[in-house]
């Protein structure tokens, strides 16, 4: 962003990568896939790169309001510097806090979730996925809490998946009834409390119970959790955990 801006250009979108996109090896592939889609569409965007910093979401939900505010205010200042108006996010936690909680601090932007972005590109005919790639895949979709229950985005991910495969199997707890993967609210970064089971195992078992061979997700933390679950269940050979963006990129042969 800094370079583009220095050249006197103002890209239409800021692509907010998020911490998992920057540092998690598995999730970097998702970001690459989505970046390919953005390039394919000729989207005018830039990333903040080393200037990007945590939205403060995990701190806020773990009770550290002070740290959240420092992060949020810093980011809002940065957005102001680059005159940012539209932000595309992939992580639902970043999406939620930028869209719904930054405005309380004066940071008001058009925040677009990547699923929305892909879905509208498909509807505008700009993305023509090849239905042959995932034709035989049996897919189940895990609703991330911060995309589904909190922001009401249930249908669009399913509609994107339907472009790629007719075989979609719903888990028993789906949409607003969906079970959390266990990573939200700061849980991603700490040990779970004592219990009889890990939350992600409960959810993985439910996903595997559908007989699907692809568990589609739309959140980096859900991906970590479910990938671990598949590993513990020794199903890595038969079941893949893919992000919707990866599936779309693959269906476009990008």
């Amino acid at each position: 962003m800094a370079e583009v801006y220095a050249r006197g250009k103002k890209p239409e979108y800021l692509f907010w990568v998020g911490c998992a996109g920057a540092y998690d090896d598995r999730y970097k592939k998702v970001v690459r896939a989505f970046a390919k889609i953005l390039a394919y569409l000729g989207t005018d965007y830039a990333v903040l790169g080393k200037e990007e910093s945590c939205t403060g979401d995990p701190a806020r939900r773990a009770g550290n309001e002070m740290l959240y505010l420092m992060q949020a205010m810093r980011n809002i200042e940065l957005f102001k510097t680059y005159e940012i108006k539209k932000i595309i996010t992939i992580c639902p936690h970043c999406y939620n806090i930028l869209k719904n909680e930054y405005p309380d601090l004066g940071g008001k932007y058009e925040v677009i979730n990547y699923i929305d972005f892909i879905d509208s590109a498909i509807h505008q005919g700009k993305l023509k996925v090849d239905p042959a790639v995932f034709e035989d895949a049996k897919v189940t979709y895990h609703d991330p809490c911060y995309l589904g229950r909190i922001n009401g985005i249930y249908e669009k991910p399913r509609s994107v998946l339907k472009q790629m495969t007719p075989h979609i199997f719903e888990m028993q707890r789906n949409k607003s009834f969906a079970l959390c993967c266990g990573a939200g609210g700061g849980q991603m970064f700490k040990e779970a409390e004592k219990g009889s089971k890990e939350v992600y195992m409960e959810r993985t078992e439910e996903a595997l119970g559908t007989g699907a061979d692809v568990i589609a997700t739309a959140c980096p933390f859900c991906m970590t959790m479910l990938t671990d679950g598949i590993k513990y269940k020794n199903k890595t050979e038969n079941v893949k955990n893919l992000d919707i963006a990866e599936m779309v990129a693959e269906s476009l042969n990008l």
């Binding site: 990568v17 911490c19 996109g21 920057a22 540092y23 970097k28 970001v31 690459r32 970046a35 390919k36 390039a39 569409l41 990333v47 790169g49 080393k50 910093s53 945590c54 995990p58 701190a59 806020r60 939900r61 773990a62 009770g63 550290n64 309001e65 002070m66 740290l67 505010l69 420092m70 992060q71 205010m73 810093r74 719904n100 909680e101 309380d104 601090l105 809490c145 229950r149 909190i150 922001n151 009834f177 079970l179 959390c180 266990g182 990573a183 939200g184 609210g185 700061g186 849980q187 700490k190 040990e191 779970a192 409390e193 004592k194 219990g195 009889s196 890990e198 939350v199 195992m201 409960e202």
Partner: protein, 439 residues
């Protein structure tokens, strides 16, 4: 005339007792903190119509939801009949609202049918509670008293329905015997008229009086008992829905004094439009009863311990101690315990106990994933995660009592802008050698 006097005394006693209870609870509310300004009345009205009167959320469980909805709608209809009974009791009249004509027939008929439906539903509810093992009704917070409380209320409602049907049947019977016109329309009671067919009129009249009085007196006792029971729900749930948070689900709200502090830290010249001394220094987050907002307290009073929240909580499902229902029950219990002392001695009152630790453990608070399934499920819009995060805020910002790994996470965010200990310089590694194809 004697009857009227007795009735007046009974209703007065009920009102006095109820007022005393209400005053006590209002005083507790005075000890709470502000939540949000109550605006958008039109929107609130619609929310109340759909979620409270339309029962949309409880119907997410179709069968028990429908049972509850039938009981609720029946209750609303029967309430009109109860109002008539109060007028009749005070003025010595009989069926005083009959001048309403067609609406009266409709009101009486639906009350008559509802009494049967509610009676059946209550028997099912009782049977389910006593005979079946419903997981949702168990848990560490569900003590023997919780179950007794539930069954007492159900039995009282069943008794109310039986006496209502009884008084309707004997009323119809007496009118038929005297060849007088029956005021109102009684589709169910007329079917059961055979039950009293061989009973002489004098005995029928005694039965009628017994049914009438036991019905109305049970209503008075019920009204007095409710605020001391989880069934305070009956009074509080509709207001709780009307006063629900209208903002995005899962949204956390700003803490004004923390925001101010951070703003000043980042820009010492920031103008707030008022001097710092106008904002009272207060505790960060929630530690105890006096820190909760009026909405938190209202939530806790409206909770009827149905456990829909706990049944969908990922932490609870996987055997962790956290139960969103317990958070609500503990909040209510703590206010009951500390409230009188707060009212008497002011907000600085300290009984050396607190909501955190003496009621709710840190372990419970740290088990929440803020997935908001509990809040989504609650049929009357209680918000449990907000309270949980507010208690975390206390633990983190007042005590620094944070699980070890989260402390590391906070440090990482503070030092390198990410929850993990990686350098910001590496943020673009994902884009290395990325091959792109333009359309």
């Amino acid at each position: 005339m004697v009857k009227q006097y007795f009735f007046a005394v009974a209703i007065l006693a009920t009102l006095v007792f109820f007022t005393l209870t209400a005053v006590r609870i209002i005083r507790f509310f005075r000890m709470t903190k502000p939540a949000f300004p109550v605006r958008d009345l039109a929107k609130r009205f619609i929310v109340m119509l759909t979620i409270a009167f339309g029962q949309t959320r409880i119907l997410r469980k179709p069968f028990t939801g429908l049972m509850h909805a039938l009981v609720f709608w029946g209750f609303c209809v029967i309430l009109m009949g109860s109002a008539e009974m109060i007028i009749d009791g005070l003025f010595g009249t009989e069926r005083s609202l009959h001048f309403l004509g067609g609406f009266y027939d409709f009101m009486i008929a639906s009350g008559d049918i509802s009494a049967l439906i509610i009676g059946v539903a209550i028997i099912l509810f009782l049977g389910r509670r006593i005979l079946l093992h419903v997981k949702r009704f168990e848990g560490i917070e569900m003590k023997a008293i919780s179950h007794i409380d539930a069954n007492i209320a159900l039995l009282m409602i069943l008794f109310l329905m039986l006496t209502l049907q009884g008084l309707n049947i004997t009323y119809c019977e007496i009118k038929v015997l005297n060849q007088e016109a029956i005021v109102g329309f009684y589709p169910v009671s007329r079917l059961f008229m055979g039950l009293f067919s061989s009973v002489p009129e004098s005995v029928l009249k005694v039965w009628y009086e017994i049914f009438w009085w036991s019905h109305i007196l049970t209503i008075f006792i019920f009204a007095g008992y409710l605020p001391y029971s989880k069934h305070f729900h009956v009074f509080m749930s509709v207001p709780n829905v009307f006063l629900s948070r209208l903002y995005q689900p899962g949204k956390l709200t700003n803490m004004e004094h923390v925001t101010r502090e951070v703003r000043l830290m980042m820009d010492p010249n920031f103008d707030f439009g008022m001097p710092a001394s106008d904002i009272p220094a207060e505790r960060f987050g929630i530690k105890d009863a006096e820190d909760i907002s009026w909405k938190n307290y209202l939530d806790s009073l409206a909770c009827t311990e149905c456990g829909r929240c706990t049944a969908v909580c990922p932490a609870n499902i996987t055997g962790k101690r956290l139960s969103p229902r317990k958070i609500m029950m503990d909040t209510r219990a703590r206010m009951k315990e500390k409230g009188p002392g707060l009212v008497k001695n002011g907000k600085s009152f300290d009984d050396h106990r607190s909501l955190i630790r003496d009621y709710i453990t840190e372990e419970e608070l740290w088990a929440c994933t803020t997935c908001n399934a509990c809040a989504r499920e609650c049929p009357i819009c209680i918000n449990q995660p907000e309270l949980i995060v507010d208690m975390r805020r206390y633990l983190v910002m007042e005590e620094g009592a944070v699980p070890g790994l989260l402390k590391v996470t906070f440090n990482n965010i503070e030092n390198n802008g990410a929850p993990w200990a990686y350098s910001p310089e590496d943020r673009l590694l994902w884009a290395k050698d990325l091959e792109i194809r333009m359309n």
